[in-house]
């Protein structure tokens, strides 16, 4: 289903293929798309570089497979329904969601940048990027709609505009904090406040 190229028939084949996908992700994240040579991926996976072509038709498909894996992870993560989601007070709910979003996004931030790099050279990748982002945006849109339905957020907000915009804000923050290790909890708190106020929530005073 998620296969892009050859499906392994043996256990050994499956292991090799998985190792290649994992290796590819590491190397792509480390060097970017263009600067990654098939050679590097093979070496990282501990196989001969001819072997990559046993499992993938080419470099593109390798990236596509890695991206696919990310989509899977993200979708899975989105499925989690943690406790606080049922809380009545929207602010702590939001705080938890933001924190989770940041954690999840940070895991994939570098690969997103890599896909963006690929898209810069070949617009075909734009679709993949949009697809990935749409997962995040959809979640946010749903959140906004719920807040409006519950009377927490004003009706004059258009979720179709606000969702991508707010996601973009958190994305940018996440991307930066993915590199910058000085990000503190208070920074995350600040981000949550901006988000909350932007959609009309009342922000608790204690700080």
């Amino acid at each position: 289903m998620t296969d892009i190229a050859t499906t392994p028939l043996t256990e050994r084949g499956r292991r090799t293929r998985d190792a290649l996908v994992a290796a590819a992700r590491r190397v792509f994240e480390e060097r970017g798309y263009a600067a990654t040579r098939m050679q590097d991926v093979a070496a990282e996976a501990g196989v001969s570089h001819g072997t990559v072509y046993t499992w993938f038709p080419g470099k593109d498909e390798l990236l596509r497979e890695v991206t696919h894996a990310i989509v899977g992870e993200v979708v899975d993560a989105a499925r989690e329904r943690p406790r606080e989601a049922t809380s009545a007070d929207p602010y702590p709910r939001l705080a938890g969601a933001t924190r989770r979003f940041l954690v999840g996004y940070r895991r994939n931030a570098r690969m997103l940048a890599v896909v963006e790099e690929a898209a810069s050279a070949d617009p075909e990748w734009t679709g993949v990027l949009d697809e990935l982002r749409e997962i995040y945006v959809t979640r946010t849109r749903r959140t906004l709609r719920r807040l409006q339905a519950e009377g927490h957020a004003p009706a004059d907000i258009d979720p179709d505009v606000a969702a991508p915009a707010l996601t973009g804000m958190v994305e940018t923050f996440a991307r930066r904090s993915a590199t910058d290790p000085t990000t503190t909890d208070s920074d995350v708190e600040q981000l949550t406040r901006l988000w909350a106020r932007a959609v009309g929530l009342t922000v608790p005073n204690h700080d």
Copy 2:
């Protein structure tokens, strides 16, 4: 002063060099960094490919020069002091600023993506990106501080966190609307509201 490589000594040289920078920008925007061949830039500028090397040591410097030009543009644009800046009511002031930001950013969005592509392959470019972004962020930080000083924005907002986050939000919006021609004025209005509410401003009701 803004020279990165060779300075032309004659009028003809200056014209050629300028044509090359302009051509490079067009081609970079069209194809991205990696996919741009020196040949393409030369052809676009209407000169032999050897001529590019008369003025620039290599592809890197060409990109650096184009980026330099953008920084110049952006700084110049930031210098403009339009009428509404003096208005007492912060919301229209903000609306104008957002609109101007979008217009300015859209002009450079594609090149920023190109630099990002270059940075993905060679981290050396990260610095250039940061420098460019800092220009926008600094402006926003200043705006936030003024709003706080004037009592329009609450004191619990940390401009050092909020400025990059909000800039990121507008950046993302701008990037998307740079490609998507369906962006309407009402979308911009939505963005302005988010921004305004996020920093605690009162948003006019009529819409």
Copy 3:
């Protein structure tokens, strides 16, 4: 051990690599260093030009490898202990040595000139040249010391000066005779006499 770049793992690889070194030597000798294109070497070895880079990082390393091979040959040749070396009369001993020197040198004369060419453009090669020459000079120095110890040569000769000078004389002669096919045995006899007289040996009269 003698590897400079990649070591072949298969028989086929070894054959290709060896063919490349041999081809490189032929082409270098034919055209000189600068005028030799990687293309030429590849063609001479009967492989695609990309294959050269499978085994050598660049042109430099190719020359280095060829030179390495020569050093090996020369050292091996120097190891031979022919009969006449044990003769009591120094002159026939010298005559034999000179002849062998000429034969050996002639085999490498052209490549030495090539390295000299490379050294002229890039002084880094000077070291390689010195190393090669030192092999010859050391042998001569040893010969001189033995002659002095045996009382055949006067003590006022300084082997450290005479060895390079006499080696230079034979080198020059060899280089010229490498190109000039009119060199006769009597020429070699003349050279031997000069050498012998220069270090004070008695020269037989019959000629």
Copy 4:
């Protein structure tokens, strides 16, 4: 007469042309033939690099002109008839000649190597080299013949073989001492002795 390319018609032209020849020699000696760019020569001469082509059709002719100048110098130097040439005792005569040879050769050693480099890439230059060397060899041949005629040197020496061989010896020594500044007078004395003994002269004992 010694002109290879354009003859200057004005004083200014003559100065430029001379400056170019001098500059070319310096740069050739510094970097070798291949590594010298016309640009470098022009810069060294303090003119625009287009100007080189006003006076010389190309790089080859520039080298040819420099070499020509050297031939002139050498011929002029050979013309000098110093006092000791008339001395009856051949050894001091020889010592003086050797010293002069060394001095003269050292001045041109590097350029000879450069021509040799050019010859390595293009055999056409071999002729120029031979011509230059022949000047030295001829002088030595004449010296040998005189020594034989005067009964100082044995008749079994063939000046046609000995002259190039001995010249080669001194050449090698000179080349090495041109780079190596540790050459002492006693080294020169050693060289003279080898030379003298090689041609059968009696060498004075005091050392």
